[in-house]
């Protein structure tokens, strides 16, 4: 039975606590509010742009923020969806997002790789690392569009599982610089070329988010990107899931211990000089940004 109200439980938390539908939804929203408050993710006046894909994480983060800030005139919320062009996967996600935004009267902007770069991900994926290519192009496009839309913060649905995976991936690859750019709020507040990113689901597990999405009826189809199975991240994810099963709380421990050393890593991040890419003038740590390097590779492969 639910520990708080003695009704039928829907989930057993890592702590061992059983919660019913109502108590779980309250717990979920309260935990997100705490993450926002403790990490100072959202100020009194904001224009939030939520990066949505139509999957469980992004629709849930949009739903929770909409629920928290509905009626607050100083915090505006709109959504941005990037269509990478993944046939058989992205179409359903777009439909789910459009349906949600129409019902909730939220502004939805849709941009595509095809319109912005001249190709779909499906077209250029042969012989490439799809997740790396897609990740770089998406991040670049999110930042550019967030600036275009005058967003004060870009919201993503990154969760505890994502973050635990990234922390371990960076450790395995000895990439301290990349780790220094992690955390519930990222981006340089002194550089106006970057729109700061916030992750209200930083301490929520994927299972909690999926339960929330199901209970709120946000999406009925939980599809996975078909390219995901080939990725390095996928292997790390499988490994961490096995550890979590044997030692519950492992992912939480990885992220919580990382949070303790993050202030030290941030000092390292501040030493990295941000330049402007010589080709596109977007912020970059090198002369030519990753996006332009990838676009050059793709253009060269065509000829």
């Amino acid at each position: 039975m639910c520990k708080r109200c003695e009704t039928k439980p829907v989930i057993k938390l890592i702590s061992g606590e059983n919660l019913c539908r109502t108590c779980f939804l309250n717990y979920f929203e309260r935990k997100v509010r705490k993450t926002i408050r403790v990490n100072k993710l959202i100020g009194k006046k904001e224009n939030l742009l939520v990066a949505v894909s139509g999957g469980k994480d992004s629709l849930s983060v949009l739903d929770v923020l909409h629920s928290i800030y509905k009626g607050n005139r100083n915090v505006k919320i709109s959504a941005l969806l990037i269509d990478e062009g993944i046939k058989g996967y992205r179409e359903n996600c777009i439909k789910a997002t459009e349906k949600y935004c129409i019902e909730q009267k939220l502004l939805l902007n849709i941009v595509s790789f095809k319109e912005e770069f001249g190709f779909t991900l499906d077209k250029i994926v042969k012989g490439k690392r799809p997740c790396s290519v897609c990740g770089v192009l998406r991040r670049s496009l999110l930042n550019t569009k967030a600036r275009e839309f005058d967003a004060t913060k870009l919201v993503t649905g990154h969760n505890l599982d994502d973050e635990a995976q990234t922390i371990i991936m960076n450790q395995f690859r000895r990439n301290v610089d990349a780790s220094s750019r992690l955390g519930p709020i990222t981006g340089n507040e002194n550089n106006e070329d970057f729109v700061r990113r916030i992750k209200p689901f930083y301490f929520m597990t994927e299972k909690e988010i999926m339960t929330y999405a199901f209970l709120k009826g946000l999406t009925h189809e939980f599809n996975e990107c078909p390219y995901n199975v080939d990725s390095y991240r996928h292997q790390i994810r499988e490994m961490l899931n096995k550890f979590e099963e044997l030692y519950p709380g492992t992912k939480n421990s990885i992220v919580s211990s990382f949070m303790e050393i993050l202030p030290l890593l941030k000092k390292q991040e501040n030493k990295i000089k941000i330049k402007k890419c010589k080709k596109c003038s977007e912020p970059s740590s090198s002369e030519i940004c990753q996006k332009c390097k990838i676009l050059y590779e793709i253009a060269s492969a065509k000829h």
Binding site: P9, I11, E206, F214, N241, K242, E244
Partner: protein, 63 residues
């Protein structure tokens, strides 16, 4: 009894009497799924009843 497992794309047969035992029997990790019975989410303690319609939904990454 039987449960539809979306990752396998088919129904799986099992003898277990509750969700926790079913997941052990089918060798499915509980942190990677949610279990839906008669269209309602249930936790590991749920005891199955005759004619329950059971679905095991994978916690997909991304999105």
């Amino acid at each position: 009894m039987k449960a539809y497992y979306d990752r396998a794309g088919k129904e799986l047969l099992f003898k277990a009497k509750n969700v926790e035992e079913m997941l052990l029997e089918l060798k499915i990790m509980k942190n990677t799924i949610i279990v839906v019975v008669n269209n309602e989410v249930v936790n590991e303690n749920y005891k199955f009843k005759t004619n329950d319609k059971i679905r095991i939904l994978s916690v997909v990454s991304g999105g």
